[in-house]
């Protein structure tokens, strides 16, 4: 079977991913671009004799790449081996999109133009003349709507047709004066064996006029460099004088701009300009005065819903797992297997699954913020505020995503161009509590605060994390990094009703991953915890207590002694010994050895904190009446220690997955080292301060 490789390129938010998702009969594969952690989505489609592979490149505004993500797309376009480019553009903003299209056409690869979101233009009474566009650009054009599944499969047919046709490639001509200079550069380029191909040489020449640093690097090491360098200097001066512009790049830009205006004039019937829904919503949502309060209200609402709605199915899930555990106890014979399942794995997995509803609601909320286009508004609203802390508005997006999961949030920081802004954002991102930490909060809040305040307390925890993050950012900016944050220029996408299918998919994937993680990683971890907490058996403790238990008469005294025995055995276990070893380190903040172990285990994954607590407090407790973890915590943990624990969880290092993402994203060893140490030191100090404060206040 023959292969066709297709690079799918376009500006951000034009609907590339939606198109890829709605191609019929496609197999989706999600990976990473080699060497970097930018998500790489590919689909494979079989059509006739061909296997077609389409690569969804990160959104890119122009070949004058700006953000790290854009550089990934650009590098792919320049260096990888593919057969044709499918350029997706947004029909609503065709003029601006076509400027990038022209840059792509300069590459003189086989190319197809896909004009997406045609439904929106048509709904407003506009239209686009496909034939005219094809005629003027000289490449095939397809009008599509990914939302209505219009024209999407046509793209595949056109890919095959274009691949098979040997129609000469289109060429875009610039002004005569520019063309003359291009020819001069091409002549010099031809002297090098690298640029014998006239089409490639022309592309290089145009990019040199466009002041493309990456291309400049390519020619820098060639023998023709000196000659070329001199020629370019002369050409730059001549053209800039002739056109009265600051740079030849501006001249090319003006050319493309004029051309795209002309194209749109010919081929597009503009919809009447009406006050759009976006305009009306924006009038309220980013109102100079009301904008911020509305935003805060949304955030507060999100955390209320997370707690209130999320807690509805919680009791049911809890009861179900307790039931399973009881069934296991009843059916399996007494012994290690029964114990590892009924006391170790099942309660641990149950204690995690219980929080699935909370986590899904939080995720849904953050996805909604992102997909509706509101997130970009929050960046606008908060830029001035963020700037005071040495960050910029765009940093807000990774920070809010951090409430969902720190891993994608680290990746979202790629939209920040300036490396300093990026590192600061990433260093404070861990303070935005991810959804995996939610179970710990919900558990501790449930145990130590009245239910009526639970949502508010949760909101306060998240807000304090965010505020701490901002303060630390400010400190980092003033102490470690001098200089201003990067400029803030950002597109505000129109508000769109999110695709229910896409949202549903995201939630489903999240649920699947979560249950898989609970069933494998967490179950495994809890098995280890169970083993460490059950062995070694100490014959002497058991013997002495068995004799004592036999000696006493009353049932109550018997139960009390049994409890004591279990507690002694636990303290004597491997985990008990480990806990005792690290306990001195945590005792200044009021932790017993069990909490200490749980917090340390949480470095693997935050969910493990809860499951570890569940195991450790269950083993030492033979009292059937108080068998909820919440009750056990109330009996064993002081209020101030619980608060100290919340503080630790809020601040210390995130999970292993997040830490390794940070390592992958940040190559500097100094930052990696700093990142491993400082959150933990800070967490301990803050917890200590708050613990002592509460202590003085008499809690």
């Amino acid at each position: 079977m023959k292969k066709i490789r297709v690079a799918l390129a376009g500006q951000p938010n034009v609907g590339k991913s939606s198109i890829i998702n709605s191609v019929t009969g496609a197999r989706l594969h999600v990976g990473n671009f080699s060497g970097v952690t930018v998500e790489k989505k590919e689909v494979f489609i079989e059509r006739g004799d061909y296997e077609i592979e389409i690569i969804d490149l990160p959104g890119i505004y122009s070949l004058n790449a700006y953000t790290p993500e854009e550089h990934v797309a650009k590098k792919y376009l320049y260096e990888e081996d593919y057969d044709l480019i499918v350029n997706v553009v947004d029909a609503n903003t065709l003029a601006r999109n076509l400027i990038f299209t022209m840059q792509l056409m300069d590459m003189q690869k086989k190319m197809i133009l896909v004009v997406n979101m045609i439904d929106e233009v048509e709904k407003q009474g506009g239209s686009i003349d496909k034939g005219k566009l094809e005629e003027l650009l000289g490449i095939p054009v397809i009008l599509t709507s990914a939302k209505e599944h219009r024209g999407v499969d046509e793209i595949i047919d056109q890919i095959v047709a274009t691949h098979e046709s040997d129609k000469p490639k289109n060429k875009l001509y610039y002004d005569q004066r520019i063309e003359e200079q291009i020819d001069k550069i091409v002549k010099v380029l031809h002297k090098s064996p690298h640029f014998k191909d006239p089409e490639y040489a022309r592309f290089i020449a145009i990019r040199l006029l466009d002041r493309d640093e990456d291309i400049y690097k390519i020619i820098h090491d060639l023998p023709i460099f000196i000659e070329l360098h001199e020629l370019l200097g002369k050409i730059y001066r001549e053209l800039e004088l002739e056109y009265d512009e600051e740079s030849t790049s501006d001249i090319l830009s003006d050319e493309r701009y004029a051309l795209s205006k002309a194209l749109v004039m010919e081929a597009v019937k503009k919809p009447e300009v009406k006050v759009s829904l976006t305009d009306r919503l924006d009038r309220l949502l980013i109102h100079p005065v009301f904008g911020l309060p509305i935003f805060l209200f949304f955030m507060w609402l999100l955390f209320q819903l997370t707690f209130e709605v999320g807690s509805i199915p919680m009791d049911m899930i809890d009861a179900a797992f307790t039931e399973i555990s009881n069934v296991v106890k009843a059916t399996l014979p007494d012994g290690a297997v029964q114990s590892v399942l009924a006391d170790g794995v099942i309660p641990a997995v149950g204690s995690i699954i219980m929080f699935l509803p909370n986590i899904l609601i939080l995720f849904l909320g953050i996805n909604l913020l992102e997909q509706t286009g509101y997130m970009a508004r929050t960046a606008f609203l908060l830029d001035g505020f963020m700037k005071k802390f040495g960050l910029q508005g765009k940093a807000f997006i990774p920070l809010v995503s951090g409430f969902g999961c720190t891993v994608p949030a680290y990746m979202a920081a790629r939209t920040l161009k300036n490396p300093t802004d990026r590192i600061i954002t990433m260093l404070v991102l861990g303070f935005m509590s991810c959804s995996a930490r939610l179970p710990v909060y919900v558990l501790l809040i449930g145990a130590f605060f009245p239910t009526a305040h639970a949502g508010n307390i949760l909101f306060i925890i998240y807000i304090s994390g965010a505020i701490l993050g901002l303060i630390v950012a400010k400190i980092l900016r003033t102490v470690l990094f001098k200089g201003e944050p990067e400029p803030f220029v950002m597109e505000m996408p129109p508000y769109r009703f999110p695709s229910m299918k896409a949202l549903g998919m995201e939630l489903w994937i999240k649920t699947k991953l979560f249950i898989k993680k609970a069933g494998t990683f967490i179950a495994g971890a809890s098995m280890i915890i169970w083993f460490l907490s059950s062995y070694p058996h100490s014959g002497t403790i058991e013997e002495s207590y068995t004799r004592k238990i036999e000696a006493v008469q009353s049932e109550e005294a018997k139960a009390a002694l049994e409890n004591e025995m279990a507690a002694k055995a636990l303290e004597n276990s491997y985990l008990g010994r480990i806990g005792k070893t690290i306990e001195p380190f945590f005792s200044p903040i009021g932790f017993d050895w069990r909490m200490s172990v749980a917090v340390v285990a949480g470095l693997a994954a935050k969910e493990v904190v809860v499951s570890t607590l569940a195991t450790l407090y269950a083993v030492g407790d033979a009292d059937e009446r108080s068998n909820t973890l919440i009750q056990r915590l109330r009996d064993n943990v002081t209020f101030k220690a619980a608060i100290a624990m919340i503080v630790i969880i809020m601040i210390y290092s995130p999970c292993i997955a997040a830490m390794s993402t940070f390592w992958a994203e940040v190559p500097q060893w100094a930052w990696r080292g700093f990142y491993l140490v400082y959150p933990n030191v800070l967490a301990w100090l803050m917890a200590f301060g708050i613990y002592r404060l509460l202590d003085m206040m008499g809690y």
Binding site: Q11, Y61, S62, N64, Y66, N92, T93, A95, R96, I99, F100, R211, S247, S249, D250, S253, D254, Y257, T278, D279, D282, I286, H287, P288, V289, G291, A376, A379, F380, L381, D383, G384, K387, G393, P487, F488, V489, M490, E491, M492, P493, P494
Partner: protein, 79 residues
């Protein structure tokens, strides 16, 4: 000719000059802001630190420093 930051919300005009340096200039351009494009001032924050403008269906948020570097010839201005 005046910078965007000297205009009121609702003001419209044509860009006559962009003084920003590369790479900001290139970025503004790829968002459709170039000499000759028509823009409208949509919004600014209370302290006028961040501005929102619209050009040919694209809405763009920028900081006052960047907005200051874009000069327009106002066409329709409500005062």
């Amino acid at each position: 000719m005046k910078p965007i930051t000297a205009c009121k919300i609702g003001c419209e005009g044509v860009i006559v000059r962009i003084r920003a340096k590369e790479p900001i200039k290139g970025r503004l351009f790829s968002l459709g802001l170039a000499k000759g494009s028509r823009v409208r001032i949509l919004d600014h924050t209370l302290a006028k630190q961040t501005w929102e403008i619209e050009s040919d269906g694209t809405k763009i948020a920028l900081r006052d420093e960047e907005a200051e570097s874009i000069f327009i010839e106002p066409k329709e201005c409500a005062a």
